[in-house]
């Protein structure tokens, strides 16, 4: 068994370093899909996080708690809900995005929105409240003072983006249920690893797992470095 693992590892490394077209294609697609999902999540999550971090309004705590609660939502549960919405007979079936890369992008973007929002909210809340007054007393307009607060929380923004991407690229439920794991179209790192393992083709699964772990590790390392800078 040990020798099989070692042989599998060696073969997997060979696949990676030889630039195997399947490995390259799946890795590129995964990065593109999760990257776009992260971009979309940042697009709508940033204003929400900014409002939650800066404004005082009724229901703010409820909204913050909701986003915090959604941080750990199981991807299969969200995948199932989205499947029901996107399926032909579902309320959003007319969009025809089920089993398409765009469907996965939307699904992952929804999945990671709570991460983006919560991280951005806490990044803004962690800025010294007197920074805004300081900017104003140095001659900044209200808008410029607001920008100064955002500038102070920039590393928190980056952290939000990185953590969101990490969650998106490592999830399986949505990619499988919304994407359908169609070869050459919606097959990504996680779905291929799951499929190849069940088929007994562990070499490709190991190669892709190494790539996924490398991506996730680099991302995690970046988070640590950013947090150390913030401290």
């Amino acid at each position: 068994m040990v020798s099989e693992i070692v042989e599998g590892l060696i073969e997997a490394l060979r696949l990676i370093f030889s630039g195997d077209p399947t490995v390259v294609e799946i890795t590129t697609r995964s990065i593109l899909i999760s990257g776009t999902a992260t971009f979309l999540s940042a697009l709508w999550g940033t204003p929400i996080g900014m409002i939650l971090g800066l404004k005082k309004f009724r229901g703010k705590i409820v909204l913050k708690s909701l986003f915090n609660a959604l941080l750990g939502i199981p991807t299969v549960a969200l995948g199932l809900i989205l499947y029901l919405f996107f399926s032909r007979s579902g309320p959003l079936g007319f969009l025809q995005i089920l089993y398409t890369p765009f469907g996965i992008i939307i699904g992952q973007a929804i999945l990671i929105t709570p991460i983006t929002v919560s991280f951005i909210t806490s990044a803004i809340e962690s800025v010294d409240p007197e920074i805004r007054d300081l900017a104003r007393t140095l001659g900044a307009s209200e808008t410029r003072a607001f920008t100064a607060v955002l500038g102070e929380s920039s590393s928190g923004f980056l952290l939000a983006i990185i953590a969101s991407f990490n969650r998106a690229i490592a999830e399986l439920g949505i990619a499988l249920m919304i994407g359908g794991n169609i070869r050459g179209i919606t097959r990504v790192l996680t779905t291929t690893i799951a499929l190849e393992t069940t088929r007994g083709e562990v070499v490709l699964a190991i190669a892709l797992a190494i790539i996924l772990l490398t991506i996730v590790s680099i991302v995690s390392l970046s988070i640590n470095l950013i947090q150390r800078r913030r401290a």
């Binding site: 010294d128 007197e130 920074i131 007054d133 300081l134 900017a135 104003r136 007393t137 140095l138 001659g139 900044a140 307009s141 209200e142 410029r144 100064a148 500038g151 102070e152």
Partner: protein, 242 residues
């Protein structure tokens, strides 16, 4: 001497709490005014209102003869600077902290560089440009706050307890810098302080606030040697229990 800032019946409320009650005060150009009074008497609120950070609930404020309103608030605010009791800096180096206000005012890179060098010289922090502002010692941070205020050449500098929690060496240095700014640039200085000796040393005029109201205003010597109100008298003598 003409009047730089005037408060007329200014009241400030935070919700139900009255932080300042019908305060009237005139501060002349080039003057150093010391605001004294016990904790919670309204010193910081008064400074924040004069700095244009907080709006009063009622009353009028005049800056250089012009009544402050929502439209001219930002313009007026650019003619003064406030230094907070707890020093606050952007999370960056000394140079960028000093350059912030200058950039807003449209100074060129060359001018900014020159002004930063000059200001750091005045507060005896030469060569500190690349140091992280938040990593400086308490005294250095307070001096940097002063540099950040004086670099803007504003007509008014408001200081909230500028030497709180500092050692005597830094207190002396900061007082010297404040005097120098006032003397050399004719900048009007308004400072809130708990330190009676400091108010006496620096203040040309002193205002005593008590229970969110102005009790007495006058020349520093007069207030300290011959206070008219018994509350001022007991505060100065250290007999007031609050």
């Amino acid at each position: 001497m003409s009047c730089l800032i005037e408060l007329k019946d200014v009241t400030k409320r935070y919700g139900e709490i009255v932080a300042l009650n019908k305060v009237s005060l005139k501060v002349m150009k080039g003057e150093i005014l010391a605001i004294i009074g016990p904790n919670g008497s309204g010193k910081t609120t008064m400074l924040r209102i004069m700095a244009g950070i907080d709006k009063p609930a009622s009353g009028e404020i005049y800056f250089d003869g012009v009544r402050i309103n929502d439209r001219n608030m930002e313009k007026v605010r650019s003619r003064s600077t406030m230094i907070f009791q707890r020093t606050v800096f952007f999370n960056t180096n000394v140079y960028k902290n000093l350059a912030y206000g200058l950039k807003l005012r449209g100074y060129s890179k060359k001018e900014i560089k020159e002004k930063v060098r000059e200001a750091l010289g005045i507060v005896k922090l030469e060569g500190y440009e690349s140091r992280l502002a938040r990593r400086l010692s308490g005294g250095e941070q307070q001096r940097l706050s002063l540099a950040r205020a004086l670099i803007l050449d504003t007509e008014l500098i408001l200081l909230d307890e500028p030497t709180a929690n500092l050692d005597p060496y830094n207190v002396a240095m900061i007082e010297e810098i404040i005097s120098k700014i006032n003397r050399n640039f004719n900048t009007t200085i308004i400072m809130a302080t708990h330190n009676m000796f400091q108010a006496k040393r620096l203040g040309k005029k002193v205002v005593f606030l008590f229970d969110r109201e102005v009790v007495e205003v006058g020349k520093a010597d007069k207030i300290f040697e011959d206070p008219q109100d018994k509350r001022t008298k007991s505060f100065i003598k250290g007999e007031m229990i609050y």
